[in-house]
Structure formats: structure tokens, C-alpha cells
């Protein structure tokens, strides 16, 4: 089945060609294509809803493990979708009070707290990783500790040279690492693109149809 592969190649070329060649017609088409694609992508949102519905619906039906939590999940999902539904003339949508309540008092605190929980994880990861087991680990330990100390006023007030050291670590090994890894990643991405366009990359669109 070659159709998906042809579509892939066509869509890829549509984006690439006008970027390098000055052909206004194709450029306009590729711009429209990008906006158009967002519509298609937005339509996928119910895939998630259906998948969640199947998994948790089954669990509720069978009274499987943790099924009350599945009820909570489905209830909150449906409620949030309804109060936020873009029908402003019947009082729903983004300015609906229930919607704002859910957004400000549930979604935001949950997101913010999940983000901040990293402080604990980074501390315990540092405790285990910053240990001079060998030369490589010693490099991680030394540069990491210098940077940590240079960020705290407590240390820099008595050891201002830490900031100079940190700047050097950032400007030299950190820059060099970032640059080297980034160039390599570009090569990898290009090779992957070629393999995909040639239809030989495993995983994506492989085979197709019934096998």
C-alpha cells in the first residue's frame, strides 16, 4: 500500500520547496496547509476521550480495581467539557463561572504542584548522582555543585568567585556539549526523515493494510 507514503512525500515537499525556492504560489499553499493541518489535528481530541472512556468504562462495569476513581475521572471530564463547551449564548464557554472555578482552583494548582514536585526529585537525584565514583561522575559532581552554590546568595556572598566559575562552566563545557549534541541530533533527524520518505523506517506506516 503506497498511498500513505505518497501523501507523506507530497506534504513534506510542499513545506520544503517554498522555503528554499522563491515560488510564491507554493509558499502560499504551504502556509494554508499548515493552518489547515491544525484543523485536522484538533479533530483528534476525541480519540483521547474515547480511549479513556473505553478503559475506564470497562473498569466501572466490571467493578475492577480502583473503579471509583474511574467514576471520578469520567465525571470530571464530562463536566469540564460541558461547562467549557463553546456555546456562549446559553452561558457555557470560557467565561462560565463553573469553568473558571475548575480552571483556577483545580487545573492550575494541579499543574503548578506537579511542576514544583520536581524540586524534591532533583534533590534526591542529586544526592545519588553527585558522587565521585569515577572520573566521569566526578566531573558531574564538581560542575554541578559549583553551579548549585553559585545560585544561592548564601554562598556567593562569601565566595563571589563562584559566579565567575559558573560563567566559565556555562560558556565553555556546557556550550560545547549543547552544540555538539545538537549538531549530531540534526544529522540523526535528517537521516530519519530520509528513511521515512524512502519508506524503510520501521514502526511508522510500516506495511499497511492487513498482514
Amino acid at each position: 500500500m503506497e498511498i500513505p507514503l505518497l501523501i507523506t512525500a507530497f506534504c513534506a515537499l510542499l513545506q520544503v520547496i517554498p522555503y528554499y525556492l522563491n515560488i510564491p504560489v507554493i509558499d502560499a499553499a504551504s502556509g494554508t496547509m499548515r493552518e489547515w493541518m491544525l484543523l485536522v489535528v484538533n479533530m483528534a481530541v476525541f480519540v483521547g476521550v474515547i480511549s479513556l472512556g473505553q478503559v475506564h468504562g470497562k473498569r466501572i462495569q466490571r467493578k475492577g480495581e480502583n473503579w471509583p476513581f474511574s467514576v471520578v475521572l469520567i465525571a470530571f471530564m464530562v463536566f469540564m467539557a460541558i461547562v467549557g463547551f463553546p456555546l456562549e449564548n446559553i452561558g457555557l464557554g470560557f467565561k462560565n463561572n463553573q469553568y473558571l472555578f475548575m480552571f483556577n482552583n483545580i487545573l492550575n494548582p494541579l499543574g503548578g504542584t506537579m511542576y514544583s514536585i520536581l524540586a524534591f526529585f532533583i534533590t534526591s537525584a542529586a544526592y545519588r548522582a553527585f558522587r565521585a565514583r569515577n572520573w566521569e561522575a566526578a566531573f558531574v559532581l564538581i560542575s554541578g555543585t559549583i553551579v548549585v552554590m553559585s545560585n544561592a546568595p548564601l554562598f556567593t556572598s562569601s565566595m563571589p568567585f563562584l559566579i565567575t566559575w559558573k560563567n566559565w562552566i556555562f560558556d565553555v563545557p556546557n556550550t560545547a556539549t549543547g552544540r555538539g549534541v545538537m549538531i549530531g541530533a540534526a544529522l540523526g533527524a535528517i537521516a530519519l526523515a530520509v528513511r521515512t520518505l524512502m519508506g524503510i523506517e520501521r514502526g511508522y506506516l510500516r506495511g499497511g493494510g492487513e498482514e
Binding site: 512525500a9 469540564m80 503548578g112 504542584t113 506537579m114 514536585i117 540534526a186 499497511g208 493494510g209
Partner: protein, 240 residues
């Protein structure tokens, strides 16, 4: 006094915050509750948000001319094909839609990757001067970067016999040390950002301005409730 529903809001927010933090102790029903609420609310939010987007796009752009209307309809058609995956008979049809997305994605990558990740980085290398008059440190730093970057690049060398030749051993070792120092620095730097986030949450729990002061009482009460139930579950019931 703040209105009742605002007070409820503050208590809810504190409950959500602490339920997530309870994960630090271990997986438990409080966390499970927050986790499932999070999934439900965020997916519901995504539904509302995406539908709003589709509606706005229709009103402000795609409904304005005949061609655009047709394109919008085609988009809806390909959008519906996503759901072919759930059909036993036509499941393969989603691959057409997918091909559009992947193809455009690869095209976008081929546009920018060569510049942002490849050429711009090489140009930055080409702006290094190994000898900066009067600035020994800068000269040294530039020289180090000029050596480190190719070493890191060569570290990933995959194929061919040249890979196993003598000098590569040293290059590889030097590249590892460079990367370890670089990654260590990035790690250390992130500590600050993560702690500022946690400090922000802690300030919220303690009701320090600009956060609502009512949060503090909620913090004490809910934290106590969560801690007591966690300990009770672990120490009273486990032993029997």
C-alpha cells in the same frame, strides 16, 4: 470576608496541591484522587479548547470564501478518519490522515533543522577566535570550545573502521568528560528553577501575598488530615 465560593475554591486548591505532594510519601488514595481528577479535568478542558478553536477558525477565516469552506469540509473529513482506528474494517484509513501530519512534520523539520541545529551552530564555531589579544582567559576558553565541540561530535561516530583507531580512544574520553561537566552544570542550574516553583507553592500554602490568606488554615487542616490517614493506613492496618 471573602465570598463562600471563593473560600471553597481556596480549600479545593489547597487539597489538590497537598494531594499531589502526598505522592512523596508513596502512592496512596489521595494522590490517586488528584491524579484521576487531573486526567478528567485536563481532557475535558482539551475538548472545550479544541472545539472553541475549530469554531473560531470557522467564523473568522474558513467560512469567508467558497474554496475555504470546501477546504474546511475536507479537513473535517480527514479529521473524522482518525476514528477509523476504532473500526475493525476500515482501521487503516486513519493512515491517510496520519501521512498528512507526518509528511508536514518532516517537511517542517527539513526546513529548520539544517539552520537552527546545524548551520547556525557551525557558524558559532566559525566565530571563535583562538587568539583574543590581551585576553588570555577568553583565548583559552575559545580554544577549549574549538576542541570540545568536534570531540563531542566524533564521540557519536557510528560506522567504518576509522572509529576503532587509536586517537579515537582519547577523543572519546575527552568528549565524555566534556559532556559530563556540561550536563552537570545544566543539572545544577535547574535546581534553582525547580526550587523557585516549590517556594511559590509553599508561599501559596502559607497564604503569603499575593495568595489568598485563607489558604493557610486550609493548609494546616488538610495537611493534618492527609498525614494522619497516611500514617494510619501504613502503621495501624498493615500490621494486622
Amino acid at each position: 470576608m471573602i465570598p463562600m465560593w471563593e473560600l471553597i475554591g481556596v480549600w479545593t486548591a489547597v487539597l489538590m496541591t497537598l494531594a499531589i505532594y502526598s505522592f512523596l510519601y508513596g502512592e496512596n488514595p489521595w494522590y490517586r484522587l488528584a491524579e484521576h481528577i487531573f486526567a478528567g479535568v485536563s481532557v475535558g478542558y482539551a475538548v472545550a479548547f479544541n472545539l472553541d478553536y475549530l469554531r473560531d477558525q470557522w467564523v473568522n477565516k474558513w467560512s469567508l470564501s467558497g474554496t475555504l469552506v470546501l477546504l474546511y469540509m475536507i479537513a473535517i473529513f480527514f479529521g473524522i478518519l482518525w476514528y477509523a482506528r476504532f473500526s475493525k474494517k476500515y482501521f487503516f484509513a486513519y493512515r491517510w490522515t496520519l501521512a498528512i501530519i507526518v509528511g508536514t512534520g518532516i517537511g517542517m523539520a527539513l526546513r529548520t533543522v539544517i539552520f537552527t541545529q546545524f548551520l547556525n551552530q557551525i557558524m558559532a564555531q566559525a566565530r571563535l577566535s583562538l587568539w583574543v589579544p590581551g585576553d588570555l582567559l577568553q583565548s583559552f576558553s575559545n580554544t577549549m570550545i574549538a576542541i570540545m565541540v568536534p570531540c563531542v561530535l566524533l564521540y557519536f561516530w557510528f560506522t567504518g573502521p576509522a572509529r576503532d583507531r587509536g586517537p579515537m580512544k582519547y577523543i572519546e574520553k575527552f568528549a565524555r568528560y566534556t559532556m559530563m561537566a556540561g550536563f552537570g552544570a545544566a543539572f545544577g542550574y535547574t535546581v534553582l528553577t525547580r526550587y523557585s516553583l516549590f517556594i511559590g507553592r509553599a508561599q501559596f500554602l502559607l497564604g503569603i501575598t499575593p495568595n489568598p490568606p485563607e489558604a493557610r488554615m486550609a493548609f494546616y487542616v488538610i495537611a493534618a488530615a492527609i498525614l494522619i490517614t497516611l500514617f494510619a493506613k501504613d502503621h495501624l492496618f498493615k500490621k494486622t
